[in-house]
Amino acid sequence: MLEIALKGSKRYYGWIAFLLVLIAIGSMAWLDQIVNGLKITGMGRDVSWGFYISQFTYLVGLAASGVMIVLPNYFHNYKPNKHMVIFGEFMAIAACIMCLLFIVVDIGQPTRMLNVILHATPNSILFWDMIVLNGYLGLNLLVGWVCLQADRARLPHPKWLKPFIYTSIIWAFSIHTVTAFLYQGLPGRHYWLTAILAARFLASAFCSGPAILLLVMMATEKFTTFKMPRKAVTTLVKIIMYAMCVNMFFFGLEVFTAFYSNMPGHMHPLVYLFAGYHGHTELVGLMWTFIALAAVSITLLVTPKLRNNLKLLPWTLGILVIATWIDKGLGLLIGGFNPTPFHTITPYWPTAKELLVSMMVYAIGALVVTILFKIATGVKEELGQSQAMACGCSTEDECDCTHGCVCTEECTCKEA
């Protein structure tokens, strides 16, 4: 099937070239880091993890998100998702690769990376994170590839694959749980030391992940003949809505516990993030932006009229992604390290080089997504599944113009 990725338009190749240029630019910064060490980053003795690890954490959520399409399809036999499943799985592959790369660029001695296997230490959560991330990558590669190949040959999916599919669905929950365990089992970091962290990670993953997936799919629709079934989109948006509400509810629980109990250790990180502490107010603006954007996205999602407005949807999802990113891709990490073990504040901000290295990893992820989505949309096109029609609906929509009418706008799809 790989040959599909080789046949593309000029625009396709242009996009790939653009990504390669980004990767090349980023790799210069990475080489600099290899030569000079992590001193080129903004990290230090007090904030010893930074942008890399927070991006890793955020992207684990993206990896876990495909399951919000896969689970309804296999566990609930919700068939409108049938043609979307492969994109969830392929997105997970790209996300897992980015996660692993963010770990690789973060460690001080990458050549010794295999020590995690050579000197396997099961009492370290990082060991388990290595297992679940690589396992999830492998499962999605296997399931995605075998299914798509069977589809292409117009054969039913092989029976032996079933156990792998079900395992991968359960596995998706494990990757984010284990990633939360990395944080929530540390005795001195109060912002992380909370039983609800894993649940909050999952909730935030199941809103931000599918939101990113939908945005990428919308972009894919612009450049291919693929069209998401309307029903699958509306269902996924409902899932995003519930997950975002649960995410913010869990955050509220944190705030209540910290401030009603009046426990200084629990309050201080929140105070630092949202009001400033010891005169340090670096993150206050950003964190309130998170709250504001979260409120806006929830408002747009819970109002049926706004939620079902497909023109507004990309904006709604974009706002949600920014909100969850500030929360989990930035605040979570800096708030965990501040106040420091000495109750002082050490501000952290990534350096330009750090951002360039991160850009490299994101560009590699985009490249993987591009190639995999190209293959998947190519196969779907060959099979004529879930294709865009002249009226703008998908062939999977039971639209009233399925039989050759020429309406150009506002068909009444049955399930819209």
Binding site: R45, G108, P110, T121, S124, P264, F342, T344
Partner: protein, 257 residues
């Protein structure tokens, strides 16, 4: 011909397997450990511990002096700013004993500086989280580091509730006086974590930790499990506190207040 080739490949396969297994088998035959000859002068304990008398050692200057000794003995690079590396350093009460604050602390206690270092916890979170056993607990209770195994993931730094660990963000040897190195202790390479090691290399040859030796008796050192040891005698007589007892790590560094 065919038979010959087959038997050759078989033989080659067996030989290759033998070559792969032989070193491991040799190591196993030798008891699985490197042949280290212990120094008969070496001193041992079940759980080494330190009691710092803050009535005697309480100025930034006094502690800096000990830190200087420690850092030169261990070739600790001098780096300014947030990427600093330090094994032993002074800090004020509020920073040292968080969660044990008191707005009306006795002036004497409030004014003091406290010597901070790795606590060599009995339940060290850093050891629990290390994915490669590069930081590990020795039978004598010391939490030590294997600089050659550390992958530099810095999970131990996130795990330590005392901020006792430093990472070599850049090349540490750029910040050392190479002419004045202590040849008895290795320098580190970039990308690994380091911290106080209770002077394991000195205990092994019968010397007390460098800071203890330089403290003129203001730091007591001994076996916590031995009721007759110096530290136990001091702990029986004087009121001591430890840093962040609520973290459940059971620090082995005590402070006389």
């Amino acid at each position: 011909m065919k038979n010959n080739r087959r038997s050759f490949i078989k033989l080659a396969g067996i030989a290759a397997a033998g070559l792969a297994i032989a070193p491991k088998a040799m190591a196993a035959a030798m008891g699985g450990s490197a042949p280290i000859k212990e120094d008969p002068k070496g001193i041992t304990a079940k759980q080494w511990a330190m009691v710092i008398d803050t009535t005697r050692l309480n100025t930034a200057q006094g502690i800096e002096k000990l830190a200087k000794v420690c850092h030169s003995v261990h070739n600790v690079p001098f780096i300014e700013g947030k990427q600093e590396v330090k094994w032993l350093w002074p800090d004020i009460y509020e920073h040292s004993f968080t969660e044990q604050e008191n707005p009306y602390l006795a002036d004497a206690v409030k004014k003091r500086q406290y010597a901070l270092l790795c606590n060599h916890c009995q339940n060290p979170p850093c050891v629990r989280v290390c994915p490669t056993k590069a930081t590990y607990k020795r039978p004598d209770g010391i939490v030590d580091m294997d600089y050659h195994r550390c992958i530099g993931c810095r999970y131990c730094m996130a795990g330590c509730p005392y901020g006792s660990r430093s990472f070599n963000w850049g090349e540490p040897r750029d910040h050392l006086d190479l002419a004045a190195l202590n040849k008895e202790y290795p320098t580190r390479m970039r990308g690994v974590v380091e911290k106080c090691n209770f002077c394991v290399e000195r205990l092994a040859v019968g010397k007390l930790p460098a800071c203890v030796e330089a403290s003129n008796g203001a730091i007591h050192f001994g076996d916590l499990n031995d009721p007759n040891s110096e530290v136990r005698a001091v702990l029986r007589e004087r009121f001591t506190i430890r840093r962040k007892p609520s973290a459940g790590t059971e620090p082995s560094v005590y402070y006389i207040i």
